[in-house]
C-alpha cells in the first residue's frame, strides 16, 4: 500500500516516537496499522532500530537481507503458535475490547443485573417495613435521598442500583415514609449518641437527663 508523502512522514514520525516509548495510545494503534499495511513503515522501523544499534556499536551493523530473512523465518514459526493472551485488568479489558464484543458483554450483564437489582430492592423494602413495625406512628420524614429535596417524603433513591431498581408510586412512597418515620427518628437518636457517629457531622450530641424518681 502506497501512502501520500505527508501520511508517510506522519507515520514515520510516530514510529520514531514509539521506538523511544513516547507514543500516545492512538499513535500506538496507528503504528501497528502502519506496520501491518505499509512496507515503508516496516522498512523505516527497521532502519531506525538499525541506526540505534550501529550508534551503540559498529558490530551490530548487519546485512539487511539477513534481518528480513530472520523475521520471515520467525513469522512462519509464530504462525503455528497459539496467540498469547494475558489476563487484563477489567477496565483495560473493556477499553481494548471490540465494540461488538463490548456491547454483547453489556447486554449480558444487563440481562441478569436487572432482575437481581429488582429482587434486592423488594427485599430491602420488605425488611425495612418489618423492622419498622413496632414504630408505626404518624408523621412525615425524608429517607435517604441523594441530594433530593427534603420537602416531601422520598424513599431511597434507586439511582445506585442501576436500571433494574425499584420505583414506587407517590402514594406508596408516602405510605412507606409515614410508616418509617418513627423508626428513623429513633435510629438517628441512637446514631448520634453511639460509638459510630461520623466525625465532622453537623449533628450535635445531646444528653437526656432523666428526672429523679
Amino acid at each position: 500500500m502506497s501512502l501520500p508523502d505527508s501520511d508517510r512522514s506522519s507515520s514515520r514520525r510516530i514510529l520514531s516516537a514509539l521506538a523511544d516509548g513516547d507514543a500516545t495510545d492512538s499513535e500506538v494503534a496507528r503504528a501497528f496499522q502502519s506496520w501491518r499495511d505499509d512496507p515503508d513503515a516496516r522498512a523505516s522501523w527497521h532502519a531506525y532500530q538499525l541506526i540505534g544499534d550501529v550508534l551503540r556499536s559498529d558490530d551490530l551493523a548487519s546485512e539487511p537481507a539477513a534481518d528480513a530473512a530472520f523475521l520471515v523465518a520467525l513469522r512462519a514459526r509464530l504462525a503455528t503458535e497459539p496467540v498469547v493472551l494475558a489476563p487484563q485488568p477489567r477496565m483495560q479489558e473493556e477499553a481494548v475490547a471490540q465494540p461488538v464484543a463490548a456491547n454483547a458483554s453489556a447486554r449480558t450483564r444487563t440481562r441478569w443485573q436487572g432482575p437481581i437489582a429488582m429482587a434486592a430492592g423488594f427485599l430491602a423494602v420488605i425488611g425495612v417495613l418489618n423492622v419498622a413495625g413496632p414504630f408505626r406512628h404518624g408523621g412525615n420524614a425524608s429517607l435517604a435521598s441523594n441530594g433530593a429535596p427534603a420537602s416531601g417524603p422520598v424513599l431511597a433513591s434507586t439511582s445506585s442500583v442501576g436500571d433494574g431498581g425499584v420505583v414506587l408510586t407517590s402514594a406508596q412512597t408516602k405510605a412507606a415514609a409515614d410508616q418509617l418515620a418513627p423508626y428513623l427518628a429513633a435510629h438517628r437518636q441512637s446514631a448520634m449518641s453511639g460509638p459510630f457517629q461520623m466525625p465532622g457531622s453537623d449533628l450535635r450530641n445531646v444528653s437526656l437527663v432523666q428526672p429523679a424518681k
Binding site: 495510545d25 522501523w45 538499525l50 520467525l74
Partner: protein, 204 residues
C-alpha cells in the same frame, strides 16, 4: 503527550499480551541483532546462533503472558537468550567458545562489548562488507548532522536518556526533542536506504 514509560517497550509488550502478534514482530526487529550478538559470544557456529535466536524469541513469545514488567523487556529477553543458548549447548553437547561464566565476567549491560569474535565460516565476505558499509554510512551521516540533531540522537540512543531528560539537558520542550530525534533518524535513514533495499526480493 504520553507519559514517558520507564520501559520504552511497554506499549509494544502490552499489545502482544492483548494478542497482537505484529507488536511482537516489531520487538523482534528491534532486538534481533543484539540477541544474535549475545548468543554469538557463547556459540561460534553462526547457523546455530540464528537457530538459538529464533528459539529465544519463540520462548519469549510463549512466556510473555507471565512477564510482569518487573524488569525491562530487554533484560527479560536477554535472560531467556542466555538460558536458551546454555540449554542448546548442553543438548547438542558442544563446547562453547566462551562459557556463560566468562560472559558474566564481562559487563552484561555493555552494549559496546565485542567479545573478540572472529569471522566464522557462516559469514560471507559480502555480508561482512555490507555490514561495514552500513556502519560507515551511519557514522558519516551522524557526523553530517547539525549539532542539535546530533546531540539529541546521541543522548537518546547512546546515553539512553528519556525525552524528558533530554529536554532538560538541551533546555528545550519535549516536543522539540521528539522532533529533533525524528529528523536525525530520517537524515541518517535517507543515506542508509539505498543500502537497505533487499537484494533477494525479500521485503519488509
Amino acid at each position: 503527550m504520553a507519559m514517558i514509560n520507564p520501559d520504552p517497550d511497554a506499549a509494544l509488550v502490552q499489545r502482544v499480551k492483548e494478542g497482537d502478534v505484529r507488536a511482537f514482530e516489531m520487538l523482534v526487529v528491534k532486538y534481533q541483532r543484539r540477541i544474535e550478538r549475545l548468543i554469538g559470544r557463547m556459540v561460534r557456529d553462526v547457523d546455530l546462533v540464528a537457530d538459538i535466536a529464533q528459539e529465544t524469541f519463540i520462548r519469549a513469545y510463549r512466556a510473555l503472558p507471565q512477564f510482569r514488567a518487573e524488569s525491562a523487556f530487554y533484560t527479560w529477553l536477554y535472560r531467556i537468550a542466555v538460558n536458551t543458548a546454555k540449554k542448546a549447548l548442553v543438548d547438542m553437547k558442544r563446547d562453547p567458545v566462551m562459557t556463560y561464566t566468562s560472559l558474566q565476567g564481562s559487563d552484561d549491560d555493555d552494549e559496546t562489548y565485542r567479545g573478540g569474535l572472529e569471522p566464522t565460516d557462516g559469514e560471507t565476505p559480502e555480508a561482512l562488507l555490507a555490514s561495514k558499509e552500513i556502519a560507515a554510512t551511519v557514522n558519516a551521516a551522524i557526523n553530517a548532522l547539525s549539532e542539535d540533531l546530533r546531540q539529541a540522537i546521541t543522548l537518546r540512543e547512546i546515553e539512553g536518556l528519556s525525552y524528558e531528560e533530554i529536554s532538560d539537558v538541551m533546555n528545550c520542550p519535549i516536543g522539540t526533542v521528539r522532533s529533533r530525534i525524528f529528523r536525525a533518524r530520517e537524515a541518517i535513514a535517507e543515506r542508509l536506504r539505498p543500502l537497505l533495499d533487499t537484494r533477494d526480493g525479500t521485503r519488509w
